[in-house]
C-alpha cells in the first residue's frame, strides 16, 4: 500500500499582487500518510491548503488526486471527490444547532450518491458522528446553537463536518490553535483514532510537540517555498529549518 499515491502536487505557485504566497511547492501524499505542514507566520501554509481545496486558483502547477487533475476545480466539486478541510478561523453555522451543522455535508452529492447515503434518519446519523468526535459528555450540547458552543466544541464540530463527508483526505488548518492544553489533549486521541482507521491527513500546525505525536512526515515552508521535507525529528534538526523558525538565518 506504500505506493498508493492519493495526492500528487506539482510546482504549485500563487501570488497575490506582488506577494508570492506559494512558490513551486511539490509533494506527494500516500494513503495513510499524516503530513504536517509547518513554518513561520506568513509562510503560505493556509494558502497552500486553499490551493489544494480549490478556494484559491493557482497561477501555475498541478494538483493530481487519484490520477485526476483537480487543479482549479470549484471547491464544492473537490469536496465531493473526497478532500475535506477545516478552516483556521472556524466557520460554524451560528444560527443552527450543532447537530444540524452536519446536515449540510450529509446532504452533499457525495453522501447522497453513496450506497448508505439514503438510509436512515440524517439527524440521528449527525448525532452519532458528534458522539464519536467527543460530544458525549453532556447530552444537551449537540442541540445547542453552534455559535454558542465553547471554542473546543466548535473546533471538534469543524472536524465532525469533515468526517460527515466520509472523505479520503482531511486537511486540518490549525485545529489546535486557540485551544487550552486540556482541550488539545482531548483532541489528540480523536486524530489518532482517525489515523488508525486509515484516514490520510494534512495538518497545518504551530503546536509542534502535539503535531509530532501524530504526524509521520513534515513539510517546512518559509516565504512560500518548501525548504525541507521528511521525518519530523530529523527535519527539525536541520540548520536551515532552525534558522527559519528561530529567525536570524544569516548567522553562520
Amino acid at each position: 500500500m506504500a505506493n498508493d499515491i492519493l495526492l500528487d502536487v506539482e510546482a504549485l505557485s500563487k501570488s497575490f499582487g506582488g506577494v508570492q504566497a506559494v512558490v513551486g511547492v511539490a509533494f506527494t501524499l500516500s494513503r495513510g500518510d499524516v503530513l504536517g505542514i509547518i513554518g513561520p507566520n506568513g509562510a503560505g501554509k493556509t494558502t497552500l491548503i486553499n490551493l489544494l481545496t480549490g478556494f484559491v486558483k493557482p497561477d501555475r502547477g498541478r494538483v493530481v488526486y487519484k490520477g485526476h487533475d483537480i487543479t482549479g476545480m470549484a471547491p464544492n466539486r473537490i469536496a465531493n471527490l473526497g478532500i475535506a478541510r477545516t478552516f483556521q478561523i472556524i466557520r460554524p453555522y451560528h444560527s443552527l444547532p450543532a447537530y444540524k451543522n452536519l446536515i449540510l455535508p450529509l446532504n452533499s452529492p457525495r453522501i447522497k450518491k453513496s450506497p448508505e447515503g439514503r438510509l436512515g434518519d440524517l439527524d440521528s446519523v449527525a448525532i452519532d458522528i458528534l458522539e464519536e468526535i467527543g460530544f458525549e459528555r453532556d447530552a444537551r450540547v449537540p442541540y445547542k446553537l453552534a455559535g454558542s458552543l465553547p471554542l473546543g466544541y466548535q473546533k471538534k464540530l469543524e472536524l465532525a463536518r469533515c468526517i460527515a463527508l466520509k472523505p479520503e483526505i482531511i486537511l486540518c488548518d490549525e485545529v489546535f490553535s486557540g485551544l487550552s492544553m486540556a482541550e488539545i489533549t482531548s483532541m489528540i486521541p480523536l486524530l489518532e483514532k482517525m489515523i488508525m482507521e486509515g484516514m490520510t491527513l494534512i495538518m497545518v500546525e504551530h503546536r509542534l510537540r502535539e503535531l509530532f505525536r501524530v504526524a509521520n512526515r513534515v513539510l517546512v515552508m518559509n516565504f512560500g517555498c518548501k525548504i525541507a521535507e521528511g521525518h519530523p525529528q530529523e527535519t527539525m534538526a536541520r540548520d536551515d529549518v532552525k534558522a527559519a523558525y528561530i529567525g536570524g538565518g544569516t548567522r553562520r
Binding site: A74, Y93, L96
Partner: protein
C-alpha cells in the same frame, strides 16, 4: 404595594409544548394553545371578505399582494442571506406575462395567472443569475435597479403599449374570486415557506447565509441553492403580479413601481425579520393603515415613515417576535 416591593416574574412555557407537535396531542389545552394563534390568522383571513365593504375588500386584495411580496423578501433576506429589493420586478414580470398572454392569446385569467407565475419566475431567475455572486448591499442595489431598467427598456423600445400599457384585460369573475384567490395564495405561500425552511433544503440555505465558504467545503454548490431560493421567491412574487394585472384589468409601467420593492421591507421590519408570519401581519397592518391615512395627503408618508422609524428604534425584533415571546410566557407580580 410600592414599586420597590414587587417585581415581575416571568416563566417560559415548557419547551415540549412549544416544539414537539406530538406532545401537544396529549391534551386539548395544549392543542388549543398551539392552534389558537394559527387559527386566528387563518380564520380571520377567510372570514374578512364577508365582513368588509367594497372599498376595504379592494384594500384587502392590495394588502394580500404586499403580504406575499413581504414573505418572499423575508425568506430571501433572513433564510438565504440575499437582500432582494426586486419585488417590483417580480410584480412587473408576472403582471406583463399574464397581461400579454391574456391580450394576445386570449387565455382566461385562471390559466394565465399560474402560467405567468412560472414564466415570470423563470425570467426573473435568469436575470438575477449573474448577480447571485454578489452579497449584502450589492445584491440589493442590483435588484433595486432591475425594475427601473425594465421600465426604460419598455419605454425606449415602445414595447407592450409603452407608457400607455394595455387596458381591457379580463378581470376575475366576481369579487369573491378576487378576494379568495389572494387569501388562499397568501395562506398557501405562508405555510409552504414555513415548511420549506425547516426541511433540509432550508437548512442548507440557512447555512449559506451563515457561512457560504463552509457550505462549499461540505461539497454543496451554493449557486444551485441560491438559484432555487430566488426561483421560489420569484414564483410567489410573479403569481401575485399576474393576479394584480387581472385584478385591475390593466397592465402598465406602474407594475414596476418602487412601492412593491419598499413596502414589503417595511412590513417585514414591522412584523419581525425571519418569522414569515410577521411579514404577513406587517403587510396586513401597513397597507390598510396607508389607506386610512389617505386623508392626510402627503403627510401620510411622514406618518408612515415615523411608524417605521419607531419600530426600528424601539422594537427592532418586530411585532411577531414580541408577541410570540409574550405568548409563551406566564407573567405575574411577586412580592420581594
Amino acid at each position: 404595594m410600592a414599586a420597590q416591593d414587587r417585581r415581575k416574574k416571568r416563566l417560559d412555557r415548557s419547551i415540549k409544548v412549544r416544539s414537539e407537535g406530538l406532545y401537544s396531542l396529549s391534551s386539548w389545552r395544549e392543542m388549543t394553545y398551539l392552534l389558537a394563534p394559527r387559527l386566528l390568522l387563518i380564520g380571520g383571513l377567510l372570514v374578512s371578505p364577508l365582513l368588509l365593504d367594497l372599498y376595504w375588500q379592494k384594500v384587502l386584495c392590495a394588502a394580500g399582494i404586499m403580504a406575499v411580496l413581504a414573505m418572499g423578501f423575508d425568506f430571501l433576506a433572513a433564510y438565504v442571506g440575499l437582500v432582494c429589493l426586486g419585488g417590483a420586478m417580480f410584480i412587473g414580470f408576472g403582471g406583463y406575462a399574464a397581461g400579454l398572454l391574456n391580450a394576445h392569446l386570449g387565455l382566461p385569467p385562471l390559466l394565465t395567472i399560474p402560467l405567468a407565475a412560472v414564466i415570470g419566475a423563470c425570467v426573473s431567475t435568469v436575470v438575477l443569475m449573474p448577480c447571485l455572486r454578489l452579497r449584502g448591499v450589492y445584491f440589493a442595489i442590483v435588484t433595486f435597479m432591475l425594475p427601473l431598467f425594465a421600465t426604460h427598456i419598455i419605454i425606449a423600445l415602445e414595447l407592450f403599449g409603452s407608457t400607455e400599457g394595455i387596458t381591457g384585460l379580463d378581470i376575475l369573475p366576481n369579487p369573491w374570486w378576487e378576494q379568495y384567490v389572494i387569501v388562499l395564495t397568501l395562506l398557501c405561500v405562508l405555510f409552504a415557506l414555513r415548511r420549506l425552511v425547516t426541511e433540509d433544503v432550508g437548512l442548507i440555505m440557512m447555512g449559506i447565509k451563515d457561512n457560504d465558504q463552509a457550505v462549499l467545503a461540505s461539497g454543496i454548490s451554493i449557486f444551485k441553492y441560491r438559484v432555487l431560493a430566488v426561483f421560489v421567491a420569484a414564483l410567489t412574487g410573479c403569481f401575485v403580479g399576474a393576479y394584480q394585472a387581472h385584478l385591475y384589468g390593466w397592465l402598465g409601467l406602474s407594475l414596476f413601481a418602487m412601492d412593491f420593492s419598499i413596502l414589503p421591507i417595511a412590513a417585514t421590519v414591522m412584523g419581525g425579520m425571519g418569522t414569515l408570519s410577521g411579514a404577513v401581519i406587517g403587510a396586513l397592518i401597513l397597507t390598510p393603515l396607508s389607506e386610512a391615512l389617505r386623508g392626510f395627503g402627503q403627510l401620510r408618508v411622514v406618518l408612515y415613515c415615523s411608524i417605521l422609524l419607531l419600530f426600528i428604534l424601539y422594537k427592532p425584533e418586530g411585532l411577531m417576535n414580541y408577541f410570540e415571546r409574550k405568548y409563551h410566557q406566564f407573567e405575574r407580580w411577586e412580592k420581594v
